[in-house]
């Protein structure tokens, strides 16, 4: 096999779900039938990898110092939603009608992974909380032990700044049957049951 072809196949394997076999199929596909779009892909990949950094206000991916979401004048400036990753930000944007702002931790408190307040940019978050505009801090970290610990920590930050922290509720999935829900989730859902209006 040609050296360049081998390198391309190896490089493609960095994609999620792509093993040796599918990497080879992709490489042959591009070379045989999609030269032009392959070049376009290479260009887009090169530009994205070089130019996309993190927004200086919310830490989401952005090629400008302040991302479009943070710069937008139509978003509500009184609510700030904290998520662990850009993927989760995108999920909330797509699934909810949320119109406030975000802060991306790029992780969660995890001593064993070497992730502490500094790595999560909590100095920057504290600065934003101190600006005086935010009234509600929505803690949308994951319902894992580390995500919960992170939410607790951030709630303390918020309270110290006079801001109301809220947490996404979690429980039985829609369309789920109690019988098939794991015990931890069920216990949690039971513990945080709400009065019916």
């Amino acid at each position: 096999m040609s050296k360049l072809l081998g390198e391309l196949i190896e490089a493609l394997r960095c994609l999620p779900g792509v093993g040796a076999k599918s990497a080879q199929r992709m490489a042959f596909h591009l070379l045989e039938r999609e030269r032009e779009r392959g070049l376009k892909l290479a260009g887009a990949l090169d530009q994205a990898m070089r130019q996309i950094g993190n927004c200086t206000r919310c830490r989401n991916f952005s090629e400008t110092p302040v991302c479009t979401l943070c710069a937008s004048t139509t978003r509500d400036r009184h609510t700030l939603c904290v998520v662990e990753t850009p993927t989760e930000l995108a999920a909330i944007e797509q699934a909810t009608g949320y119109r406030g702002q975000y802060f991306v931790l790029l992780g969660r408190l995890s001593p064993l992974d070497g992730l502490g307040p500094q790595e999560l940019g909590l100095g920057l978050l504290a600065e934003r909380l101190g600006e005086g505009e935010i009234e509600e801090l929505i803690l949308a970290t994951n319902p894992t032990v580390e995500g919960e610990a992170t939410a607790h920590y951030l709630a303390q930050l918020a309270r110290a700044a006079g801001i109301r922290p809220t947490r996404l509720s979690h429980g039985v999935p829609l369309g789920g049957e109690l019988e098939f829900v794991d015990r931890g989730t069920l216990a949690h859902a039971f513990g945080s049951r709400q009065a019916l209006e």
Binding site: P16, G17, L109, S110, P111, L112, D113, G114, L115, G116, P117, Q118, T144, V145, E146, E148, A149, H152, Y153, Q156, A160, F180, V181, D182, R183, G184, T185, A187, H188, G191
Partner: protein, 237 residues
């Protein structure tokens, strides 16, 4: 080697390959184990994934071969335990402590026992400080670094409740002046040794300082990440 119905806890988990998790587990009879849980990050593996969170007493079925074991099944061994707020942060500290101070496949049944007892205590305690000191004491004893909390290091005399000591990891309690930064009252050392809560907040504070120094010594001078987090979280009201 098949390991069946082994009592254990997940200490830490991270993504592994496409749909799997790499767990760091503390088991009763086999010590700390690296365990691969296959396929639990897929939609179908969600129910099992939910069980594999830290602090839950589990019964693990494992296939141990070489460096990493493979998880065959995990079932809860008791009601799910919820460590919320500062107890959750304290629990993460416990886990960091166990991972950093023990090696894999090095069983310490006394450590497992202490760990299993500490979690519900953390869940019930108003503030985790004292529970953490007890666990640190028991962890050190279980791995062969027991503290000497009866006699001083100078002449082997019984500790004097009224005197002040500086605890040195490699020696023990050495008498010092009350003004020294690392000074601990004899009464507080004795309290820790006899599993009694120190009489006041100052006693707890000096024990915390002392434990950090001892742990730092056994880590070869390294710091624990959790110290940073705990300090920042717990100084707030």
């Amino acid at each position: 080697m098949g390991i069946d119905q082994q009592p254990g806890y997940v200490l830490h988990l991270r993504a592994y390959r496409e749909t799997s998790l790499l767990l760091e587990c503390l088991t009763r009879d086999h010590g700390r184990l690296g365990v691969v849980a296959r396929g639990v990050r897929s939609a179908r593996g969600q129910a099992l994934r939910a069980q594999l969170e830290p602090f839950q007493p589990l019964l693990l079925d494992l296939l141990a071969r070489g460096e990493l074991a493979t998880l065959r099944s995990a079932e809860p061994a008791g009601l799910p335990l919820r460590l919320s707020g500062n107890a959750g942060l304290a629990g993460l500290y416990l886990n960091e402590l166990v991972v950093r101070l023990t090696g894999r496949q090095d069983p310490h049944p006394a450590l497992f026992e202490a760990y299993a007892q500490t979690l519900p205590r953390l869940a019930a305690a108003e503030s985790p400080g004292w529970q953490l000191r007890r666990f640190e004491r028991d962890l050190l004893a279980a791995i062969g670094y027991a503290l000497q909390l009866e006699f001083d290091a100078d002449g082997g005399e019984p500790l004097d409740p009224q005197a002040h000591y500086r605890y040195q990891a490699e020696l023990g309690a050495c008498r010092c002046g009350p003004g020294e930064a690392a000074a601990v009252r004899g009464a507080d050392l004795l309290a820790l040794g006899q599993d009694r809560v120190p009489g006041d907040a100052r006693g707890l504070q000096s024990l915390r300082r002392m434990m950090r120094e001892v742990i730092r010594f056994h880590l070869g001078g390294a710091e624990l990440r959790s110290w940073q987090v705990l300090a920042a979280a717990m100084t707030r009201p």
